[in-house]
Every structure is written in C-alpha cells, then in structure tokens.
C-alpha cells in the first residue's frame, strides 16, 4: 500500500512537471492551428486544424524574410564562433602557460555579464559606424555569448583527445597548425558538430540585441512578434504560427538527436 502510494505520488509529480514545462509549448502549437472562431473556445480540444495562420504569417507579414535573416545571422555567427573559439579551446587545453586559468576564467565570466546593458553602447557605436540593421553587426555581437560557449565546450572535448595523436604528427615533422587541422579537428568532429548546433540555437533565439539593433533588412524571427500588434489587438493565431516557426529548429533537433540538447544545455549550465 505504502509503495503504491509512493508510486502514485511520483507519477503525479512527473505529470505536474510535464504539464508545467511542456504545456505552454503545446498550447502555442494548438493556438497556431486554430481558426479565429475556435480561438475563443479555449476548452475545445477537438477542432478542425487549419494552416491559415501559417499562410498568413508567411505571405501577408513576410516572415520568410525574417527566417532568412535569422538563418544568415545564426549560420554566419556559428561558423565564426567556432573558428575563433576552437583555436582558443585548443590552446587552453594543450599549452601550460602562466595566467592560463585566469584567461579561461575571464572568458567564462563574460557569460555572467548583464549583456542587456550593452544594447546602448552597441546601438551608438553601430549608428556611428553605419552598421545598424545589418547582418554582420549581429554576427559579430553574438560572438559575445557564443565564443565563451565554444571555448568551454571544446576545451573539455580536446582534453579528452589523447596528446599522442598530434605528438606523433609533430614528430613526423608537421607544424602545430597542420597537426591541429589534420589530426585533431577530424578526431573532434562529433564535438564540433554538437557545439555548432548549440551555437546555432543560441544565435537563432537571441532577442535583445536584435530588437534594438535591427529594424527592417536584418530583422530576425523572434523580434518580428511586435509586428502582430495591430490597433485591433494582437493577431493571436498568426503570432502563434510565428512562434512555432521560431521554435521549429529546436523541435527538429530535439526530435532527431535529443542528446545534443541534453548535453549542450548541461554544458551551458555548468559553464555558467
């Protein structure tokens, strides 16, 4: 009896956890599939689903352009973050030098900085440099959070790759750089891929900088939500469709290989 009660309580707990964390996502997906008349019947779980909201979001409100902008910024930033971060991760993993721990800690601590405060200097600097509302601006600024992530994730990864691999290459007369490119990078490919996926998600989701620093040509998906506030109120169906489009990459990644997400966010957590 006691065991039965314990099991029941545990299942109840799991149910509550799933409801609290998962239901908001489900509710947005449901809302995006509702015709206007069904929006006003929240208790109705069975309704004929419609894709009208998606069609409206994509055609009337030009969401496709924002998807394109988000994809350009996230891809560009991921590649640049990897290029800049992976070398540092390798350096920190392989060379013992004075101040190494300080450098590693310094890179890590940048993640704790209240970055929302930087929208003002970035805004003025970008205004003066005529970079406002450009893809390259966001690609560069997103380095602030993705480079520390790459350094931390890849350093742990390189630590696990035996030194013998590149030492053999160095003995054979390869330069350090050649050994790195020919031997280390191929061995680290799974880690590079997982880290890249995480960088892409973090850049794709970024809201604060994009909100302040873009207006038309480089506007990204999350910031497009504001467009759906009309004089007659918010277009709930359409904006939900946009929300689903915004979380689509994450949903796809979660469905294909949830390990990337689980490990990635554990890492992101532990580095913070």
């Amino acid at each position: 009896m006691r065991r039965f009660l314990l099991r029941a309580a545990r299942n109840l707990g799991v149910g509550a956890v799933l409801l609290f964390f998962g239901f908001p996502i489900l509710w947005m997906v449901l809302t995006s599939l509702k015709e206007r008349i069904y929006l006003y019947q929240p208790g109705r779980w069975l309704f004929p689903p419609t894709l009208d909201n998606y069609v409206a979001a994509l055609t009337k409100y030009g969401i496709l352009d924002y998807v394109k902008n988000s994809a350009i910024v996230a891809t560009g930033n991921t590649l640049l973050s990897l290029a800049v971060g992976v070398t540092a991760a390798y350096g920190l993993s392989r060379f013992a030098f004075r101040g190494r721990d300080a450098v590693a800690l310094g890179i890590l601590l940048t993640r704790l900085f209240p970055t929302i405060t930087l929208v003002i200097p970035f805004f003025v600097l970008a205004f003066l440099l005529r970079l406002l509302d450009t893809h390259i601006l966001l690609i560069l600024i997103y380095l602030t959070f993705n480079v520390p992530f790459v350094v931390w994730a890849m350093r742990a990864y390189f630590d696990d790759i035996p030194r013998e691999i590149e030492e053999a290459a160095l003995v054979d007369g390869c330069s350090r750089l050649t050994a790195f490119i020919r031997c280390i990078l191929p061995a680290a490919r799974p880690g590079l891929f997982a880290t890249g996926v995480m960088c892409f998600i973090l850049a794709w989701n970024e809201f604060n900088y994009a909100l302040f620093l873009t207006s038309r040509t480089a506007k990204t998906v999350p910031t497009a939500i504001a467009f759906f506030r009309t004089e007659r109120g918010i277009l709930w169906g359409e904006v939900s469709a946009l929300g689903v489009i915004a979380i689509l990459p994450v949903l796809v990644i979660a469905a294909l290989g949830h390990n990337v997400l689980l490990r990635g966010f554990s890492l992101e957590g532990s580095q913070q």
């Binding site: 545990r10 799991v14 956890v17 609290f20 964390f21 998962g22 239901f23 908001p24 509710w27 947005m28 809302t31 929006l39 019947q41 929240p42 800049v84 971060g85 070398t87 540092a88 920190l92 392989r94 060379f95 030098f97 450098v103 310094g106 940048t110 704790l112 900085f113 209240p114 405060t117 930087l118 003002i120 200097p121 970035f122 805004f123 003025v124 600097l125 380095l143 602030t144 480079v147 350094v151 998600i201 989701n205 809201f207 909100l211 999350p222 910031t223 939500i225 709930w236 904006v239 939900s240 929300g243 979380i247 979660a254 949830h258 997400l261 689980l262 966010f265 554990s266 957590g269 532990s270």
Partner: protein, 295 residues
C-alpha cells in the same frame, strides 16, 4: 622560467583571437557605456550635439526626483527574489524526481529543458497566450472551477505572473545543475542512512541538502544574476506595465533610453546602475559561498 615563457609564446596565437574578440566586444562597449551615461545624448539627434553632463544623470536617478527609478530597483530585487526562490525549490524537486528511476526519464528531462532552448521572447509569448483574460487556458480552468475570470497581468498580480514565467525559464537550468550535483554525491552515507531507517525527509534534510550546499550557492548566484538581466519575456508580456507594476531595471532602461523620452544618456546611467547592482550582489554571494566553504 625561459621554458614557460616559450610555451606562452607558442600559446599566444591560439588564445589571442578569442581574447581579443571578447575584449573588443565587451570591455570597450562597457567603457563606452560609461561615457554615454555621462552625456545627455538623445536618440535621433546627431552624435556631435551631445552635451557632457558629468554625473548629472546619476544624480537625477538617485536624487529622489525620479520616482520610477527606485520603484524599478525594488521591482528588480523582488523579481530576482521570486524567481530565484521559486526556481531553486522547483528545480530541487524536479532534480530529486529525475534522480530516481522513473519511466521515460530521458523524455521527461527533454521536456524540462525545452524552456532553455526557446527564445525568452517566444517563451513570453507562450505565457501571454495562456494568461489571456478572454481565451487563455488559465482563465478557462479558473472559471470552470471558481466561476470567475482573473486578469493575470493586472496591476496587483502582474509581477507574480511575470515571475512565474521567469521560474519557467530558470528552473530547467537549476534542475540540470542539481541533477549533476546529486549524481556526483558519494553513495555510502545514503546507504548507511537507509540501514539505520532514516525517513526520506531526514535523508534530504541532513544529508542531501548539506552536501549540496556549495552547489546551491553557485546556482543562487547564477539565477540571481540571470533574473536581474531578464528582458525579453517581460517586454513581451507587459512592457514593464501596467504602469510601473513590472518595471524592472532593464525595462526602465528601455523606456527611458528608447521609449517615450529617448534620453539615451540617462538610459546608459540606468544600465550602469544595473551592472553595479549585479556586481554587488555577485560579490556578496561569492563571499557567502567562501564562508560556507571555510565553515
């Protein structure tokens, strides 16, 4: 000595690009932010027209003439307290649950971490749909149970409603942290306690909690800092309103710097105050954690 310098020389080209990029993208902007906060620059005017006002913006904030500033400091601290307390308790509960052998643990963990993988703005949108007075699911439930409709984002309840969303976003991180902590604890004391017939609560209170103490302090530090800089979800849900009900410092910075008054110089001063506040709280928490480690 010479050898270590030599190695350092070799490491330099590898480490330099990241360090330089982060220096240029964080240290320089912070210095520039400090400078902007000393000017009366207004949005939309030529940069050359700015006036240097010294500490004028700061005096205006703290001098008492600015009623909204102190309100927003209070809102920020209350919000951070609610989110930190809520997500620590919830995160601990979820971590304890996931630490047991339950069916579909990977799936449950995946659902729990979803808020981490979702843009804060989109998270805010999700909750805005649920909080909606007319067709939100929350009022549907409340109405069928109690027969009333609640205006969740009204003056009296908005800060709590926004804090629930903050907990939704922060608790997954806390959970992952505690879960890793639980998994790293030595097993022997727990087995000894079981042999001696300790209750689950006793085990938690006298074994788990003390052993997790260092982790709890670190998690608190990160959650507080993260709550203080929250912007996206609150912007989506209330834009700091109604009135000043959810006007935390980042939202106040937005209103002053980019909203109705567009005095970027003063907005910069608010931003700098937020940096100082964050650093002060971080220093206090770091000191606390040191104390507990020595004790």
């Amino acid at each position: 000595m010479r050898k270590s310098l030599g190695i350092r020389g070799e490491a330099l080209p590898w480490v330099l690009p990241s360090t330089l990029a982060l220096f240029l993208l964080i240290v320089i902007p912070v210095a520039f932010l400090l400078y902007v906060s000393l000017t009366g620059y207004e949005l939309g005017f030529p940069w050359a027209d700015r006036t240097f006002v010294g500490l004028g913006n700061y005096w205006e904030l703290v001098g008492g003439s600015d009623y909204e500033f102190w309100v927003s400091v209070r809102r920020s601290l209350t919000y951070a307290l609610l989110v930190t307390g809520g997500s620590l308790v919830l995160g601990m509960g979820v971590a304890l649950l996931l630490h047991q052998t339950i069916r579909g643990r990977t799936f449950v963990t995946l659902i729990v971490i979803m808020p981490l993988a979702i843009s804060h703005a989109i998270g805010g949108l999700m909750w805005k749909l649920m909080y909606n007075v007319e067709f939100g699911i929350l009022n549907y439930v409340v109405q069928s149970l109690a027969g009333v409709k609640v205006n969740w984002l009204s003056d009296a309840t908005a800060l709590y409603a926004v804090a629930v969303v903050g907990i939704w976003m922060a608790a997954p991180f806390v959970t992952l942290f505690f879960l890793a902590g639980l998994q790293s604890l030595p097993q022997a004391p727990f087995e000894a306690a079981r042999v001696e017939g300790a209750s689950a609560w006793q085990v938690f209170r006298h074994l788990t909690l003390p052993m997790l103490r260092p982790i709890i302090l670190v998690v608190t530090l990160f959650t507080v800092i993260d709550a203080l800089r929250s912007f996206g979800a609150i912007y989506l849900l209330t834009e700091g309103g109604p009135g000043v009900a959810t006007l935390v410092l980042p939202l106040y910075m937005y209103r002053v710097g980019f909203g109705y008054s567009s005095i970027l110089g003063k907005g910069a001063a608010i931003a700098f105050v937020l940096i100082l506040l964050t650093m002060t709280l971080a220093a206090i928490l770091v000191r606390l954690s040191r104390h507990s480690r020595e004790a």
